[in-house]
């Protein structure tokens, strides 16, 4: 019996080996940091690059480990490595690489160790959310994502605006963690187990614990708490301010990583994997039309407010809210689509493409100017095609992809969502598809404004010699993904449909 326990311990640890590597690097970074900076927090130049190289090496090694690992049957241990966890880990490791490149010159040398350490911790957190098989670990992983985020937002720019943005993000994030925890407590109480697998089966089988009426309340609380992370409408207020206030790399990270965390947590909690028949009772269909209304309102508010914006980052913030709305459409469709594409597959495909688009757009923003005199409003971007033709071209590619125009993967992502929504066969599904189309048309307007500014106007800044090699590399990779996924989407689509 003894070695069975040891075996179980070793087995569950091996599931999360790549994350342990990341967290070990975080420990090393935080251990080494104070020895390399003097009292007043300054250290010799180029230190941030060395930390970044170390981090890249760690991510590479963790990626190699991830590549060796294969999805395994879900046991009842604390962690699991099913298809979704495997896919999300790959996605988050790729995002880490891009974010490290984006963050290359964004942080002063003194604070670079903390910034890179928190970035690695966030990456490990996202992996753990996907890999967790237990309520406790899910909540711990959510915290492991949010607490380093406060640090990461604040470090690049220490002025009042960044300070205010971080405080605002912190207060709302703590609030949302409280909501999620409260929801989890009810789920734990009513269903009687902390293991997600057991919860899924218990709910599907329909035998509920002492106070079944608490389940809808729990589901609503969970959606509210996680809705904050994916900037769904009633909880989206922080996004524009934080995107504008925090450093550009902070905004880049915020535009994608919390969304991955939020959606994966939502999938884990509300829609258990495995096909249990269309009308099995899951937390998702307990909540009735809330997710439907959430998706529709998020889309419309995100798009309509984005039209009014002049600041590029605020506009990208509202566009990320609108994209959260599109992804919520995939989530609302969920698995029960007869004769149609699986909503969760469409959601994951859209998430991957959205990641490439938004990180690419922010990388392009960074490539245009450094933090001191950075481009704020759309007019700053005017005539960019003259001063920086390459950056302008890639930015246009990302914006066209966000718009959902053909030569980019954004089009395929939206097409999948259209298909999933329409083929659900129900009236609500059709209305979702129609709203999706209307929003895509509205969205075209404000993306077009940026492109028009870049190409059709005279250059606002006469000379722009700001070279940012790392961000350019990141931008090029994202552009490769956005174009590549259009011409060869099959491998990703097959990976996703095998996974969820």
């Amino acid at each position: 019996m003894l070695d069975a326990l040891v075996e179980a311990l070793k087995g569950s640890l091996s599931l999360v080996l790549p994350d342990i590597v990341l967290l070990a690097t975080v420990a090393v970074v935080f251990f080494g940091a104070p020895f390399l900076t003097d009292e007043r927090g300054r250290s010799e130049a180029g230190l941030r690059h060395r930390w970044s190289w170390l981090a890249l090496a760690a991510v590479g090694f963790s990626g190699w480990l991830w590549y060796q690992s294969t999805p395994v049957e879900v046991g009842d241990g604390p962690f699991r490595l099913d298809g979704l966890a495997w896919f999300v880990r790959g996605l988050s490791l790729a995002t880490l690489v891009v974010l490290l490149l984006v963050n290359w010159n964004q942080v002063p040398d003194g604070a670079s160790a903390e910034s890179i350490g928190s970035l690695l911790a966030i990456g490990a957190g996202v992996n753990l959310i996907a890999a967790s098989n237990d309520l406790v670990y899910l909540f711990l992983a959510l915290e492991l994502v949010s607490i380093p985020t406060y640090l990461f937002l604040f470090l690049p720019r220490r002025d009042a605006a960044a300070q205010e943005a971080t405080t605002k993000y912190f207060l709302l994030s703590a609030f949302s963690s409280g909501l999620v925890l409260f929801g989890m407590s009810y789920v734990f109480g009513v269903v009687g187990s902390t293991n997600l697998q057991v919860i899924g089966q218990a709910l599907a089988a329909g035998q509920n614990g002492p106070l079944p009426m608490l389940l809808p309340v729990a589901a609503i609380l969970l959606i509210a708490g996680l809705g904050f992370r994916i900037t769904a409408v009633p909880f989206h207020f922080y996004a524009p301010d934080v995107f504008q206030g925090a450093g550009t790399s902070g905004a880049a990270m915020l535009s994608f990583v919390p969304k991955v965390a939020g959606f994966v947590a939502l999938i884990r909690l509300l829609i258990p994997s495995g096909w249990m028949g269309p009308d099995a009772q899951t937390l998702a269909n307990l909540t009735g039309p809330t997710v439907w209304w959430l998706a529709v309102i998020t889309m419309f508010v995100g798009n309509l407010l984005a039209i009014l914006q002049t600041d590029v980052r605020r506009l990208l913030a509202f566009s990320s809210i609108a994209h959260a709305g599109y992804m919520l459409v995939g989530f609302q469709i969920g698995r029960e689509t007869h004769a149609g594409i699986d909503g969760i597959d469409a959601l994951l495909f859209y998430l991957t493409v959205y990641g490439a688009m938004s990180l690419g757009a922010f990388a392009a923003l960074i490539a245009t100017s450094d933090e001191s005199k950075r481009y704020e409003t759309i007019d700053d971007l005017g005539g960019l095609s003259r001063t920086r033709p390459a950056v302008a071209l890639l930015m246009t590619l990302f914006l066209f992809s966000m718009m959902g125009l053909p030569p980019t993967a954004g089009f395929l992502a939206k097409l999948n969502l259209f298909f999933a929504a329409w083929s659900q066969g129900t009236e609500s599904g059709r209305w979702l598809a129609i709203f999706l189309a209307v929003n895509a048309a509205i969205a075209a307007w404000y993306y077009l404004r940026i492109i028009a500014a870049m190409y059709l106007r005279e250059p606002a800044h006469a000379e722009n010699r700001h070279q940012e090699p790392a961000a350019s590399v990141a931008m090029a990779c994202c552009a490769l993904v956005v174009l590549g996924l259009f011409f060869a989407p099959d491998w990703l689509w097959r990976a996703i449909s095998v996974v969820s």
Binding site: M1, L2, D3, L5, V6, L9, A27, F30, F31, A33, P34, F35, E39
Partner: protein, 127 residues
């Protein structure tokens, strides 16, 4: 509801009552001739210097935060301490004791890293 519930309520009532009654009595019966000397804060006979609300130096604040974090880590040690070395079934099985100890060491190591980080950052430098 049986007697034990009433007992608690009764007890709570008495405590509250005792406090309220004393306050009311002192307030009503005490002679209050407000003179300057009586208004001074009593610092065991010495004359108070400066305002009572000076701002603390920042380092106290940071030390307080660090104390909060490290103190709470103690919480994790309790279950380990209780269950690690007892022999009946409820505790950690004998064979696992050293592995569990190893895990505890890792936990303490992370705390040590945090401590070294804080120390090198000059939190404990008492100017």
């Amino acid at each position: 509801m049986d007697i034990s519930v009433y007992a608690i309520l009764l007890y709570a009532g008495m405590v509250a009552g005792f406090v309220v009654v004393n306050l009311a009595l002192t307030h009503l019966l005490s002679p209050n001739k407000r003179t300057a000397v009586k208004q001074m804060p009593y610092e065991s006979g010495m004359d108070p210097v400066g305002d009572a609300r000076q701002p603390f130096d920042v380092k106290f604040y940071i030390v307080a935060i660090l104390f909060l974090v490290f103190d709470v880590e103690l919480l994790f040690l309790y279950p380990w301490a209780v269950s690690a070395y007892i022999d009946d079934a409820s505790g950690v099985p004998a064979g696992l004791r050293d592995t569990v100890f190893g895990v505890m060491l890792v936990f303490m190591a992370t705390l040590a890293i945090a401590y070294v980080y804080a120390w090198r950052k000059g939190v404990f430098k008492w100017r």
